[in-house]
Symmetry: C2
Subunit: 465 residues, 2 copies
Amino acid sequence: MVQTVYHTSVNQDPDSLDETFGLHPAFVDEVEDALFSKKNERVRKLVAGLHPADLADLLEHLEPKQCGQLVETLKDQFNPEVLPELDESVRDTVMRAMGFEDFASALTQLDSDEAVYIAGLLEPGERTAVFEQLPAADRMQIEASLEYGEETAGRLIQRELVAVPDYWTVGETIDYLRVARKLPDDFYVVFVVDPRHRPVGLVELNRLVRSKRPVRMRDIVNPDMDVISPDMDREDVAYLFRQRDLVTAPVVERSGRLIGQITIDDIVDVIEEEAQEDIFKLAGVGDTNLYSAVIETVRGRMSWLILNMMTAVGASIVIGLFQPTIEKLVALAVLMPIVASMGGNAGTQTLTVAVRSLATKDLDSSNATRIIGKEMLAGLINGLLFAVVAGVVAYVWFQDLGLGLVIAAAMLINLVVAGLAGITIPIALDKLDIDPATSSTVFLTTVTDVIGFFTFLALAAVFLL
Amino acid sequence: MVQTVYHTSVNQDPDSLDETFGLHPAFVDEVEDALFSKKNERVRKLVAGLHPADLADLLEHLEPKQCGQLVETLKDQFNPEVLPELDESVRDTVMRAMGFEDFASALTQLDSDEAVYIAGLLEPGERTAVFEQLPAADRMQIEASLEYGEETAGRLIQRELVAVPDYWTVGETIDYLRVARKLPDDFYVVFVVDPRHRPVGLVELNRLVRSKRPVRMRDIVNPDMDVISPDMDREDVAYLFRQRDLVTAPVVERSGRLIGQITIDDIVDVIEEEAQEDIFKLAGVGDTNLYSAVIETVRGRMSWLILNMMTAVGASIVIGLFQPTIEKLVALAVLMPIVASMGGNAGTQTLTVAVRSLATKDLDSSNATRIIGKEMLAGLINGLLFAVVAGVVAYVWFQDLGLGLVIAAAMLINLVVAGLAGITIPIALDKLDIDPATSSTVFLTTVTDVIGFFTFLALAAVFLL
């Protein structure tokens, strides 16, 4: 895997374009060496000109001690834009290295949505310490946004935006933009508001540029906009952005007043994070990641393993019911994991599709019945196929036709049950307003293990002994 | 779960904002009823004014027959913008209902990136039939883009863009924009090119608006842009957009000539699709989804189940080695699934984090050794904890201290192995340029099943009999 040293400016050489992106390991090594031998000038020179996101990546790649050392070396040159790009656990290290005062001053230099995002992840104690260093106006604005739930649109609000009255002309708007001082770093639309500061629509900048100066804003305004409430679930906001190919959307409070905007860059992060969350929940990883410390990693995964331990003991109890049967025919012990394992896998396939379809709103009550029918049918077909395979394997291996027929029947039953459980468990959890990604895998494997072991061993007890 | 009938225009009522989005099931029912009773006027009225993405959702929710019927009912009123929003299998139904001629004419009305996206998903036979109906210029442009691999930036190129020479003034640029006819539907930047049509940078529209008319474009151009090659992996493009918070990026061919742009709306889809792909690959679902027909669904999941069948038989062979041992101590058969299952789950946790970290480029050779060490340590701690739990369960259940010690030892070994395998398998696959999401779960469960059953039964054979 060849990686380029990350390019930070125009890269006009087409030959170097199709390589893999990311920080070059050799570059990371070089920085580590310079830090180790305390060549501060060399360190500063190496990281100068790095894009904030790349400097963040570098900090994440270093050992915590070196990470702090790098921040202390940079001191005044440290770009606040790095902070929102950092993983939570690394940001703690960086904050400690900066001190609360510098950290607070960095927050004031960021866009409001970024400052809120960072403040929202601080521990209560740290938050108090940082807030004490903030100017009152900034602190109140951040605290107002933090009132909204963690997964809501409120946390994504960027207060900085451009809004003009609907009676203004294009010329007046452009003149205002030329002299205005507190504009967002980057913006794509001008919001048009009524006298009570309620949005009546928006004017895309390309529309503004192409209109003549005397034209009134109200005559070119696009009223077809989607308005976001701060209480909205951020997943719904992301859905709306994807569905309508939005770049920005106005946020209004209950009175209808425009209080900010949400922009696509935050939504891109939401989409990535929500998909990641689903993956991690399905695997029972919890709220940890690659950078979490060992103890947090262990703790994050513990609850899932405890649940799985209980499930596994439950399955063992089912097996325990048939000890005399197994004693008489030990081949049952040899073959039984096949039935359970196939059920678990087939069920997980269906479950995964169902969980994602619920998340992307492709699956809802209007098509649930049809989809459940389809999954059961798929389970039946797969069940028939693998019943034959398992039956043949068992017959050839143990030269016992009865055993072959029993494992075939158990396989068929378990794969149909797996298909049914795989689709109905997430739908049921969703109806109960429980995130179907969180707990469905445990339910599913409990079902497929118990049914798998039970049908196989019970059928054997009845027909083979 | 309350759902709104999807709002398609300004929604100023804040009370209705915080509800769940998506098509209202009652609305879908109404359309179905109207279709069933062939009330064509009613159908047309119901769907009139629906956003293209919502009409696409509606078509996806209907049975294939009704979906075709709806398209035929709409006929001339059918908005081509619906096509890119449709799931592949539903689009086939829609295409058949439209006929190749109308379908081809719809393609010509779309932006080039959308037309290429759709054409790329057609079966070879269908593609020929559609291409025959296309004007030569459109066909050649689409064919040129289809030359690029399916997962490359080339497939995302939007040919429509605004590029001006660097010696133009802001005034000349604005005048050109006012009279130009073939502009993209929406754009956020003006690209500045040299005489050989190579991009020298870009001017964000907000910068253009805020500059005075006599200023030269070369004086306000932002040269800090990221240039995309059409051969670039689309995952790398998405990474770049996320990393740099881009909204658009120029695409250049080998000579450096600007041939198009990639915009954030396509990247949002790529991010969602790539994350979805990872989830589906980890669960072995293959390239199917909720809307795939039963037979495709079965086929898509088959290869995974076949692999899993082989793995399961492999594990059974390991158990088979110890038949005499199990015959003497049937408690082993009862307890053995616990060891294997815990190993599989702990391994999957580590594996999932590793696969995602590789995808997001958080894990690479510069930190691999440290992360492997961390995961082994986490495995060791979890192993010690669950060794105690399993040992106590076995001892209490079967009143056999030896059995408790054997299961504890097996658990410890299997969880350390699971941690090690969970992190090294995806890293190894990645080094071999195999997508770590695709096949790693099979490898992992093979390892944890075999090691789990083997250590437990072998330790029992040596120490308990």
